[in-house]
Amino acid sequence: MTATTVDRRAEMTALVQAHQAGVWRYLRFLGCDRAEADDLTQETFLVVLRDGFEARSPAQTAAYLRTVARNRLLMARRKRGNRPAEVELAAAEAYWAKAVGNKGLDDYLVALADCLQVAVTARVRKALELQYRDRASREQIAAALEMAAEGVKTLLRRARDVLRDCVERKIRR
């Protein structure tokens, strides 16, 4: 094995390890289920590496990978005969770029973890845990929190709004 081959392999490995989770999360945000996100992430890197990818800054790389991933998703949807969703994807990309940026979701998650501790009450936190961790139904959440089922939807919506404001503030800082 030549030194160039070894370097190239190390470069590929570094690229994949640094960005695969980000691409996967982005695809999930665009509406892929887990299996589709797995496949399209793999395909994105295959396309990029096959075309002789050259190293750029991490931010540029992340943006480039997102573009390739979005195009692969569009092609997959077209192949399945689904209506192309360029407009929806463009809007999603614009929001992702603004809210998450090229650093990936990690900063967003760190900020959210903080906000969960400081911005919402223990009762709201419990409601969120029941919904996301235990996948409890609205009725089950209502029973656990001793409240009316119709109030759960409002509680969760408000909680998400509060968290969103909190996260955006933290990220802007």
Partner: protein
């Protein structure tokens, strides 16, 4: 109001928050796809793009004229083939009616032209000869079949004729033509023949060796196989002397009442062959495996679990855990996990290895000898200066290709592997004799002495009976030489024989379905494959009737021992290698929960023994007892571990328990087990996805892929 296609900012913000909360609270974290992607990049396999497309596009200009020439030749060849009977019949008439011998028949040049410019049927026959398929069929019928089979992309079917069934369209039909999982296209790549094509690759040379009777049988089998309309039916095992993979029947362990059977005894098993074979069926061939190919314990034991190793002098540590049973909510699940002591590469004892390689005609297939050579070269690269390797091959007769050679001379080992070619019949028995003799002659005291048998298992000359082979290996195992069996290929894979001789020969058995598995078995887990840290490891579980009314061992059907075998040191049992993990699951029916088990009539000639009083005082659910011998010892040692069930729910169990339970459910579904309860492929997926854990090699992610494929194939 937003347009239907354009979500507003709030929708997107909600979506992002939802995803982030799902990841943070619900554990929906991204899987580690690094390994999978890098492997795919190496192989340049895209989930939704045929493998060769890129290369083809680059070389299209070069190949286009060639393709045109081939197409013209095909059309000419097919036309001639169709006209030939008429021409021959006309020629016959000319011969009969010939008045002037000097008059040349008008079409005399036709057969000559046919010979000098071979038709597609002859090309196919040539290919078959090259591939070791040296048989001939009745002219005419073969030509038609071959043209139908080989040129579907050139001869467009009439609209009224449905395409012949293949595995891939079956898969697509599950979800409609547009709903095919991109991964499914991987299996549709032309890198492996379709199941229907396999029917042509029977080891006919072997039948010829057996004489006329077998030859006829081979031809009858071929006829049946080519008549089969079910893709791959040919490979589901047709018994000795017939084509097809061969599996021993596996009958799921039934529930046993603690009152009648308080002890459950079995031998450990570290084999993983069934998992790789099931993966081959699902991911390479796109079909569900036959139930008897699914040995659940081998599926479970394919994965590493995060059990702590021993911290004292014993060769392995045991871990027991009880939790809710995901497919039967009233029952409990008990997981027994063993972890063998790790041996660092530099501490691995000197090795005396004998590669016993099947180079018979049946190995002449890309997934057999070439893969075998690749795998053994990987292993040869791991050999150190203090190790020795000999290579014994067998076909019609056995031979020592490379005498025991020091690892210092690694190139000689690699060169010897390079020179191997396939051909002839399979005298496996003679090969085993020579390999063990070579191992004994170069025996290293205190070292690793092991024969590695690489074969498809289709022994057909010399000692061929499974019973005789088992007796031979059993006797050889007493010499202190261990055995590893590596299975290759499909179509005539004798899984039953390979599993049996590995069990009886102090051995382990893995199936190599591709370079990645070769890497896992022969490089990544070389310590576990080569270095035995304890032998004759037996497990006996005593259940407390005060806590348990009945139980069922999941898997290990061909490893069950009699209760009295546990203390009998003459009774052989399984080996555990360095760093190996072994997992066994029991489905336990708690006391007081009703279970239907067949009743037995009261005895007529002796009073039925009254069961002793249950141990009301004890809150223990069971006691696990283990017996093992040091690799060079004759006497076993005993370990005991009691378990108290804390009533833990399944969701509170460790991820390893959850993942093992998902694999067990998957196995039960593939086997269509009567004990599968509420299990569905969807539930397996849900549990396994949440329990993937670190998964550094991507094995668990690949398992998810297999479950998704099985789910689609089963139409769930």
């Amino acid at each position: 109001m937003s347009q239907p296609n354009r979500p507003n900012r709030d929708d997107l913000a909600d979506r992002l928050m939802d995803q982030a909360l799902g990841e943070l609270l619900g554990g929906e974290t991204p899987p580690d796809l690094s390994q999978r992607i890098l492997v795919a990049v190496e192989e340049d396999v895209s989930p939704s793009q045929p493998r060769k497309e890129h290369v083809m596009s680059k070389s299209k200009r070069i190949f286009r004229p060639l393709v045109l020439v081939v197409a013209v030749c095909l059309v000419v060849g097919v036309t001639i083939a169709l006209l030939l009977p008429t021409l021959q019949s006309n020629r016959g008439e000319w011969a009969r009616n010939m008045v002037e011998p000097s008059a040349p028949p008008p079409s005399a040049s036709a057969p000559m032209e046919f010979n000098s410019s071979p038709s597609r049927s002859e090309e196919i026959e040539d290919e078959e000869v090259l591939a070791g398929r040296r048989y001939r069929e009745v002219p005419g019928t073969k030509t038609e079949a071959a043209v139908e089979k080989k040129a579907p992309d050139r001869l467009a079917p009439r609209p009224s004729e449905p395409s012949p069934p293949t595995a891939t369209p079956d898969l697509m039909s599950q979800e409609g033509p547009v709903a095919m999982d991109p991964k499914d296209l991987v299996s549709a790549l032309p890198e492996t023949p379709l199941p229907g094509e396999e029917s042509l690759s029977l080891p006919t040379e072997k039948r010829v060796v057996h004489g006329g009777k077998h030859r006829q049988e081979g031809e009858v089998a071929r006829k049946q196989l080519s008549d089969s309309s079910v893709p791959g039916e040919s490979e589901l095992g047709r018994g000795p002397g017939r084509g097809g993979d061969r599996y021993d029947r596996v009958v799921d362990n039934a529930f046993k009442t603690v009152k009648d059977h308080p002890l459950s005894t079995f031998s450990i098993d570290v084999d993983t062959a069934a998992y790789a074979n099931v993966r081959r069926f699902l991911l390479q061939e796109g079909r569900l495996p036959p139930p008897d190919a699914v040995r659940i314990e081998e599926l479970i034991n394919y994965f590493d679990y995060d059990y702590a190793g021993p911290d004292d002098d014993v060769p392995f540590a045991a871990h027991i855990e009880a939790a809710g049973c995901p497919w039967q909510p009233e029952h409990r699940l008990v997981r027994i996990g063993l972890k063998g002591k790790e041996v660092a590469s530099e501490e691995r004892p000197a090795s005396n290895l004998v590669f016993l390689l099947d180079v018979s005609g049946s190995m002449n297939s890309p997934d057999k000898l070439p893969l075998l050579k690749q795998g053994m070269k990987m292993l040869a690269e791991q050999v150190r200066e203090q190790d020795r390797v000999a290579i014994v091959v067998y076909a019609g007769s056995e031979g020592l290709v490379l005498p025991s050679t020091s690892g210092e001379n690694r190139q000689a080992i690699l060169d010897a592997l390079d020179r191997l070619e396939a051909g002839g019949s399979t005298n496996g028995g003679a090969g085993i004799e020579l390999a063990y003799r070579t191992a004994r002659e170069n025996f290293i005291e205190g070292g690793v002495n092991r024969v590695l048998l690489c074969t498809d298992g289709d022994f057909n000359v010399g000692t061929t009976s499974q019973g005789d082979l088992i007796r031979m290996v059993e006797e050889k195992a007493t010499s202190g030489v261990f055995l590893s069996v590596l299975g290759f290929g499909r179509g005539n894979l004798n899984d039953a024989m390979m599993e049996s001789i590995s069990n009886k020969g102090n051995g382990n058995y893995a199936y190599i379905d591709g370079p990645t598995e070769a890497q896992k078995v022969l490089v990544d887990q070389i310590g576990g494959t080569l270095v035995t840290i304890a032998k004759d490891v037996k497990i006996q579980v005593e259940f407390n009737p005060a806590q348990v009314s009945a139980y069922r061992l999941i898997g290990y059907e061909n490893r069950i021992l009699a209760a009295e075998d546990f203390n009998d040191d003459k009774k052989d049992a399984g080996e555990i290698g360095a760093g190996h993990t072994v997992t066994a699951l029991y489905e336990v029916v708690p006391a007081g929960v009703k279970i239907d088990t067949p009743s037995v009539d009261p005895l007529k000639y002796q009073p039925t023994a009254e069961p002793s009083e249950p141990s009301e005082q004890s809150d223990e659910m069971l006691t696990l007892k283990l017996r093992y011998k040091q690799p060079d010892a004759d006497h076993s040692q005993l370990l005991e571990f009691p378990l108290v069930d804390g009533g833990k729910s399944f969701s509170a169990a460790g991820t390893d328990v959850q993942f093992a339970a998902a694999v067990a459910s998957f196995g039960m579904l593939l086997r269509d087990s009567p004990h599968r309860g509420d299990a569905t492929y969807g539930a397996v997926l849900e549990i396994a996805e949440s329990a993937v854990g670190a998964d550094p090699h991507g094995y668990r992610a690949e398992f998810l892929q297999m479950v998704r494929r099985a789910k689609a194939l089963a139409g769930q």
